[in-house]
């Protein structure tokens, strides 16, 4: 009996430790206990901006539109076969965007949209904040949402559209595509909300002495509105036969310009709204063109909205995606676009057709291209007939001829990367990359005004850009007389040609070209002139290429999505 008592005591002691199988994770926050304070919202907002800079973000490398345009050519880097397919317009929905492949902006864009929706949904319920604060946060998130949808529509047309967080991600399986015109309507609504609730300027002054450009302001919303209307101006004619499964709602598109005589008028209005009030928004052209592309410089007064890459910052880990570190953040910029001799991958080079657009004296050519690092004794000359560069190749390892690209490289994103940190800890450059800069607003204004018949005004804005390009601030003694001013006496058509060229001179390698080609119905005529370096054969783009395919992986897990025409 004594033994049994003892036994009972021991057993009782042994079991005294009660085990708790509930989990109390450290370093992870249960969503329902978040969104309590203003700081919580700020942290989540920062997470949204951080997501814009992730490796596969649409704001990041945007490799697809580079390669699809006539600005870039690819080398025989066989690590990424899809680049060839894009370059040659032979891609299919399955090879176009791999679910976990690099540059899969589709995935990151929707995670950005989802983040914005979570923020908007939760911030509206936060009674602890003033209405004004709530609206400002909401406006910031709606700006990002509008911008991401806009960039996505430009590529894919109709999209699955979400304006609220999903109760269960599985619900997305039965979602169908919303007509692009309708999404444009939501985009315009979002941007107009921003006009009412965002400040003209951010109050934060960066170490470079300019107001912060990595958060949207009223000016950013105006600029995107101008761009949206510029795109809608030709929408009905460009996309008339874009879809097999529906026809375009032209009336809706026209109604989106309500209050204006046309979308051109709207584009001009919003652009001029910025130009005429540029001081209150803090916008001005940068004196030295090179300073726009310098990782040391941070934001510029010319930036309207930019994304900020810090060299020591790891890419965010969104929705279970794992990033392998060494391409995180903007790791793509430097190595992709640099020749192998200087530690790049030699994967993507500039085309001679773009290089040859520039007058030799245009400072923008020196800034935009890297000819000192390539393999030519002197800048080669592009032969339109053969599609080949001609010139004398320096003695070099044959590998460079075969696997690397022997043309000039684009230098905007690789010459001054700022503080760099190499693999495996972080991304590789600390650029602030403008999604839009004031120069583009001038070009939008010029193009829209010219369409409205206000040609001399339009040329005036072009000449502002050309005047800035003549300043060689790196060596002021060297200030060029080129590029010369354009005469204000040009006809509307001649002015259009000048504007069209100026888009490239000013904004080449800044992810504008491919969308401009589509917008102005030039895709087929321009691209079919291209002779990719690898194949040596002309590209054969088709009318349906104005829209990219919906990635194949989405069809595997959804019902009701329809693929774009031609794919």
């Amino acid at each position: 009996m004594k033994k049994l008592v003892l036994y009972t005591i021991i057993l009782a002691l042994a079991n005294a430790s009660c085990i708790d199988l509930e989990e109390h994770p450290i370093g992870k926050i249960a969503p329902e206990s978040y969104f309590k304070t203003e700081k919580d919202v700020e942290g989540f907002m920062t997470g949204l901006y951080a997501n814009l800079t992730q490796d596969r973000s649409i704001f990041n490398t945007d490799l697809q539109s580079d390669i699809l345009s006539d600005e870039y050519d690819v080398s025989a880097d066989n690590f990424r076969p899809y680049r060839f397919l894009l370059n040659q317009y032979e891609f299919s929905p399955s090879d176009f965007l791999q679910e976990d492949g690099d540059g899969c902006y589709w995935v990151s864009s929707y995670s950005q949209i989802s983040q914005a929706n979570i923020l908007i949904f939760n911030v509206r319920k936060m009674t602890s904040l003033t209405e004004e604060t709530r609206n400002t946060f909401e406006a910031e998130a709606r700006f990002i949402r509008a911008l991401v949808y806009f960039m996505m529509i430009l590529r894919h047309g109709d999209l699955p559209y979400f304006s609220e967080p999903l109760a269960n991600p599985k619900d997305a399986r039965s979602v169908v595509r919303t007509p692009a015109e309708e999404i444009y309507q939501y985009i315009i609504e979002d941007l107009k909300f921003c006009l009412d609730h965002l400040p003209d300027q951010n109050s934060y002054i960066t170490t470079q002495g300019v107001t912060l450009r990595t958060k949207p302001t009223r000016g950013s919303a105006l600029a995107v509105l101008a761009k949206v209307h510029l795109t809608l101006a030709t929408y009905n004619e460009i996309y008339a036969d874009a879809y097999e499964y529906r026809s375009i709602d032209e009336t809706l598109v026209n109604n989106l310009a309500s209050g204006f005589t046309s979308h051109w008028d709207a584009a001009a209005y919003y652009a001029l709204e910025i130009i005429n009030n540029k001081s209150s928004f803090g916008y001005a052209l940068e004196d030295d063109f090179q300073n726009l592309f310098n990782g040391e410089k941070g934001d510029s007064k010319e930036f309207i909205f930019s994304v900020d890459y810090g060299p020591t910052v790891k890419g965010p880990n969104v929705a279970g995606q794992d990033y392998d570190g060494w391409r995180s953040n903007n790791g793509g910029f430097c190595p992709y676009r640099k020749p192998v001799e200087v530690g790049g991958w030699g994967a993507i080079g500039a085309t001679m057709s773009t290089f040859n657009l520039f007058h030799w004296g245009d400072y923008r050519r020196d800034v935009s291209f890297d000819i000192t690092l390539n393999l030519w004794e002197a800048p080669p000359v592009y032969n339109e007939m053969t599609g080949k560069a001609e010139g004398t190749i320096l003695d070099s390892w044959h590998y460079s001829q075969i696997d690397a690209y022997p043309f000039p490289y684009s230098a905007k994103w690789s010459r001054f990367p700022g503080e760099t940190v190499s693999w495996p800890d972080a991304g590789e450059a600390s650029m602030n990359v403008p999604n839009m800069r004031y120069a583009e607003v001038l070009l939008i204004a010029a193009e829209a005004l010219n369409e409205l018949g206000r040609t001399p005004e339009a040329i005036g804005y072009l000449n502002e850009l050309r005047a800035r390009a003549r300043q060689r601030s790196m060596n002021p003694d060297d200030d060029s007389t080129n590029p010369v001013n354009i005469s204000t006496a040009l006809s509307q058509q001649e002015a259009w040609e000048a504007i069209w060229k100026e888009w490239s001179l000013e904004l080449c390698f800044e992810w504008k070209r491919w969308f401009n080609l589509i917008r102005r119905d030039s895709l087929i005529s321009v691209i079919s002139r291209e002779v990719p370096f690898v194949t040596g054969q002309h590209v054969n783009p088709q009318p349906y290429h104005i829209l990219l395919p919906i990635p194949q992986f989405e069809f595997d897990v959804t019902d009701g999505l329809v693929q774009n025409k031609g794919y």
């Binding site: 036994y7 708790d20 997470g47 690590f79 995670s111 989802s114 991600p169 912060l212 279970g320 590998y399």
Partner: protein, 1033 residues
């Protein structure tokens, strides 16, 4: 308990017989017969054995040396008997000296098997359990405890994934069950679940029992799917104090060399490659070679050096091992204390490993109803040098691919930088000895128990234990290395510690009646884990002088730092009933209720039942006609359910996590959504059927076990993809099904058993078929996402395919070279480039649709054969094992047969497609021409048969005669010689068909089964010769 019982019985019999003998003393004598009685198992003499003249009560017993003297007539038959051995009869005849060898009676010895929370007599075992007794393989130097299992047991596949000192070992029991949740078996060390097998000093292991079927495994419930390995460490014996010391030294060399081009072959190769690609220049080297004398214009005729990287990087390896142990005890207390030091200098310069381990096991009988004891171990392991930290491909691959032009050092004595591929890289020697890579792993395990027996046969056992792992990994890249040069020095420190606390209580009771016996067990246990880590990196050092070690990181600029913590726990209730009716019909019922914190709130607990039946056929009267030959015939069957809970915690919860944002170029904290909740997340379940038969032939001289099993693993933990438009990638969920089925055969035979010579052999063979039954969605092929392969293997190689094994290779079919320009042009290639089969039949080869299944990494079957010969004082052991039918994708060969003009080539490339220098015509072979345009697609060209038969170990030992030793107070002294991996029969072209598995460079992990079978140039296996001595006092 078992040994004590045996001793008591033995003594009783001994004294009875001694009395009888004394009583009979003085009978008439005829002639004197003398001799020695020995055991056939170890040739040791048997003191106290009985010798009786048949049909009489006359007899004697042997003395302490096994000698006897008896008087008998020529017609007398002597009956030799000894407890635990088969009796033997010998007719005296004219012999005056009769030496006999008695064969152990395994059944009489009541060999036991350790099962979860208890033991069972082997004859009464209903499940499938493999037993490994390290004594059986004495003489084979074992570097890690997990290698004790290799080739010894049917159904257990043990792969030494890397030849690196302390290199990784992968253990798989009856196949691969999981894609995401891990396939490592549960290790239970002296009752402590969740230990690390490799942390135990192999010399301390008494026995290993491997639970394979569901009825045995169900005692470990949700953690048992991949099998359970029960390790029992040594204990002391009452009254038999022993001191054992051993020392051995091994010499190691690389087991195979692969020849590559020297500078002269390489120059012609590079120039031919340029020419084939249309270049007219043959200038060489060019400005790419920073070391060429004048920087640009040396022609290849002037090259006067060639580096053989293998000679620079490899050396002769050495292993030294010291072991000392003390064991003994009194009636009430027994002890085992040991210490071991193991030092290994690997064959790659700079790669070293050492291990210090200590153990103390104590068992005390406090009074007649309380027993208590402890098992304690502390192990320190230290790894240096190449561990494959940066990338999958190691030094041994760059030895083959690096240019022979490169020299290890430049004129100033710095490492020469390899610029050949365009991106600067460390040369192979610099990669081997340049960086400091120092990994230390300390394990401490303490387990205490008390066993109470308040009522006879009712036992309560309470145990409490702590297992702690401390891991510290430091790296330093000073400015001599590329990583260090780019960043003015770079250092990294990564620490973690993991503590597990386990508390268990079991209550057992057994009772026998005339017609039946039964035993019951009930238990409760809980186990808590705590994991913490610290990580930091720094760079930008003022000079190398300030970065002697990663312990000086304050001298650099912080780049990154992180800390983390996680906790998880299990709670379990379990029970078992064993029923034995008429010693013929056996029934076992096991069940466990397991709770795991890592599972979702709706599914914290699971129930894992199992049952087994067995029928001892030889006990039936109708079997009598055959029992003279078949002394044991047992048929058994079991069925049950087990689980796999090996996922990390918190995965069922919805969460926001912190990340880094940027504000004005400065890092700021940010929050992002990470996962959505899965309230139903649960374990993977495996239902297993096992049917087996055990046979004993000729008094167990031959024993045979045969098993058939079939397992279905369902509710696989799988990341089910969401539409990406939802903003989320996937959710960890339970979906999919995998099947493993197979057969196992185990054969043990005493082939020859003579006084001075014996030969025994063990043979095992097993076959496992792995098949994916069901996966998420309708995708016919799902690439296995593995970030490590990105950029290295140019995409995916391993796919998950329904109806195929988990590790299935998908690729293209190689089809020689293009022999006409027309055909080549159709595919965008040139004459002499590699051609691939157009499987879709559209006339053109397309990467997008011409791929197919090309093989699987899993073997068709594996076998092992161990022979032990004893002749007088000599022991000879020969151990052979084989793996048949596995495929290996040889990535290293893909590199050295690329012929792209940059990567060095194997000598096979001399037979490439080329232009005949005299005739100018193409000579077509099955190897493409040198060309940078040869695309390196994954084809069956580099998929090789990994079949091998390996002479794993041969040992020869000499035991010095006892009579010599007794004069110097030494009990045993053995000197031995052993050779490992002396010979291998294989067609595989890489270093080794077994070690060269993908991502095996990590010394701790066994890799991922879904990307198994890829040879990316892991640390080569060695050939090793060992000399050793064992001394017993």
């Amino acid at each position: 308990m078992f040994t004590m019982k045996k001793n008591v019985m033995f003594r009783t019999v001994f004294y009875i017989l001694l009395t009888v003998c004394l009583a009979l003393y003085g009978q008439p004598v005829f002639s004197q017969v003398t001799g020695t009685v020995r055991s056939s198992a170890d040739n040791n003499s048997l003191p106290g054995a009985n010798i009786i003249i048949k049909g009489t009560t006359t007899g004697v017993v042997t003395d302490m040396d096994g000698h006897y003297t008896i008087n008998a007539t020529a017609e007398d038959i002597l009956v030799f008997s000894y407890m635990g051995y088969h009796p033997k009869e010998v007719t005296v005849g004219q012999q005056t000296e009769i030496d006999v060898l008695l064969i152990e009676d395994i059944m009489q010895l009541e060999e036991i098997v350790v099962t979860g929370y208890g033991t069972v007599k082997k004859v009464d075992l209903t499940g499938s359990v493999s037993v490994i007794n390290p004594e059986d393989i004495e003489g084979m130097p074992v570097t890690r405890s997990d290698l004790l299992l290799q080739g010894r047991s049917a159904g257990v596949e043990v792969t030494q994934a890397s030849g690196a000192p302390g290199g990784a070992v992968r253990v798989r029991i009856r196949g691969v069950h999981s894609i995401n949740a891990g396939n490592d078996p549960l290790i239970v060390i002296d009752g402590f679940a969740g230990g690390e097998l490799s942390s135990i000093n192999p010399n301390d292991i008494e026995r290993i029992d491997i639970l394979k079927d569901a009825s045995s495994l169900a005692m470990y419930g949700a953690r048992a799917t991949n099998g359970v390995i029960l390790v029992t460490t040594k204990s002391g014996q009452s009254g038999k104090a022993r001191v054992d010391f051993s020392y051995s030294h091994s010499f190691q060399t690389i087991s195979k060399n692969i020849d590559v081009f020297d500078s002269w072959d390489w120059t012609r190769y590079a120039n031919e490659s340029m020419k084939n690609d249309g270049s007219t220049r043959t200038l060489f080297p060019s400005r790419r070679y920073p070391y060429s004398p004048d920087g640009s214009s040396a022609s290849y005729d002037s090259i006067d050096w060639s580096t053989n990287w293998a000679d620079e990087v490899y050396r002769q390896g050495a292993v030294d091992e010291y072991q000392i142990s003390f064991a003994g005890g009194s009636e009430k207390i027994s002890y085992y204390i040991s210490g071991n030091y193991y030092n290994h200098n690997g064959i790659v310069k700079g790669s070293d490993f050492n291990r210090i381990s200590t153990r103390m096991n104590i068992d005390a009988q406090a009074n007649d109803w309380i027993r208590a004891g402890t098992n304690m171990q502390a192990t320190r392991r230290q790894y240096y040098g190449e561990v494959g930290f940066w990338s999958g491909a190691g030094v041994s691959q760059s030895v083959l691919t690096s240019s022979p032009f490169l020299k290890p050092y430049d004129e100033e004595g710095n490492f020469m930088i390899d610029n050949f591929a365009g991106v600067p890289a460390d040369n192979p020697l610099a990669a081997a000895i340049g960086p400091i890579n120092d990994l230390r792993r300390d394990n401490y395990m303490v387990n205490l128990f008390t066993e109470l027996e308040p009522i006879k046969n009712l036992k309560l056992k309470i145990s409490f234990g702590v297992d702690k792992i401390d891991r510290r990994h430091g790296n330093v890249y000073d400015s001599r290395t590329i990583a260090g040069k780019n960043r003015d020095g770079y250092a990294r420190l990564s620490n973690y510690s993991q503590t597990s606390v386990l508390q268990e209580n079991t209550l057992s009771y057994n009772k026998s009646f005339s017609f039946m016996e039964f035993s019951l067990l009930a238990g409760y246990s809980w186990q808590k884990y705590e994991y913490e880590d610290v990580y930091m990196t720094t760079d930008s050092y003022l000079s190398d002088g300030f970065m002697f070690s990663f312990n000086q990181m304050g001298n650099g600029t912080p780049v990154d730092h992180q800390t983390g913590k996680s906790e998880w726990a299990y709670e379990s209730f379990f029970g078992r009933a064993n029923i034995n009716i008429l010693d013929r019909y056996l029934l076992t019922l096991n069940s466990r209720v397991d709770g795991s914190s890592s599972f979702a709130k709706n599914n914290k607990y699971g129930f894992f039942p199992s049952g087994a039946i067995a029928w001892k056929l030889h006990k039936e009267s109708f079997m009598e006609p055959v029992t003279s030959i078949f002394n044991e015939i047992k048929i058994r069957a079991s069925y049950g359910l087990v689980g796999n809970a090996a996922i990390s915690p918190y995965q069922s919860l919805a969460s926001f996590v912190t990340t880094d944002g940027v504000l004005d170029n400065v890092k700021v904290p940010a929050v992002i959504p990470q996962t959505v909740a899965n309230d139903n997340l649960t374990w993977e379940s495996t239902a297993e059927l096992d049917v087996g038969v055990d046979l004993g032939v000729l008094q167990n001289r031959i024993t045979l076990s045969f098993d058939y099993y079939k397992k279905r693993t369902y509710d696989l933990l799988y990341k089910e993809p969401f539409p990406r438009i939802s903003g989320y990638a996937s959710i960890l969920t339970n979906i999919g099904e995998v099947e493993n089925k197979g057969v196992e055969l185990l054969l043990h035979g005493i082939i020859i058993s003579k006084t001075n010579f014996s030969w025994s052999a063990d043979f095992n063979v097993s076959r496992n078929r792995n098949k994916i039954i069901d996966l998420v969605g309708d995708d016919p092929m799902i690439p296995v996402i593995n970030a490590d392969m990105d950029g290295t293997l140019k995409g995916y190689l391993n796919y998950l395919v329904e109806g195929e094994p988990i590790s299935t290779f998908v690729g293209y079919l190689y089809d020689g070279v293009y022999t006409t320009e027309e055909e080549a042009a159709l595919n965008g290639k040139k004459i002499g480039n590699a051609r691939y089969k157009d499987l879709s039949g559209d006339g053109v080869f397309k990467e997008a649709d011409d791929y197919t299944i090309i093989g699987s990494a899993f073997p068709d079957y594996i076998w092992g054969l161990n022979n032990i010969f004893r002749y007088k004082n000599w022991d000879l052991g020969i151990f052979i094992r084989a793996n048949v039918g596995s495929d290996i994708y040889n990535v290293t060969r893909e590199f050295i047969e690329a012929g792209n003009g940059v990567t060095n080539c194997s000598m096979e490339m001399l037979n490439r497609t080329r232009i005949d220098e005299e005739t100018g015509d193409w000579i077509f072979t099955d190897i493409p021409k040198f060309s940078a345009l040869n695309s390196n697609l994954r084809t069956d060209r580099f998929l090789e048969d990994g079949t091998f038969i390996r002479l794993e170990n041969v040992y020869l030992a000499y035991n010095l005669p006892k009579q010599w030793l007794s004069r110097i107070f030494v009990k045993d002294l053995q000197i031995y010689f052993s050779g490992q991996n002396l010979f291998i029969l294989t067609d595989y072209k890489g270093y080794d068909p077994e070690t060269s598995k993908y991502k095996a460079g990590d010394s701790e992990g066994g890799g991922n089964d879904a990307v198994f079978g890829i040879d990316e140039g892991t640390y080569p296996r060695t050939r090793s010769i060992t000399l050793g001595v064992k001394l017993g006092l």
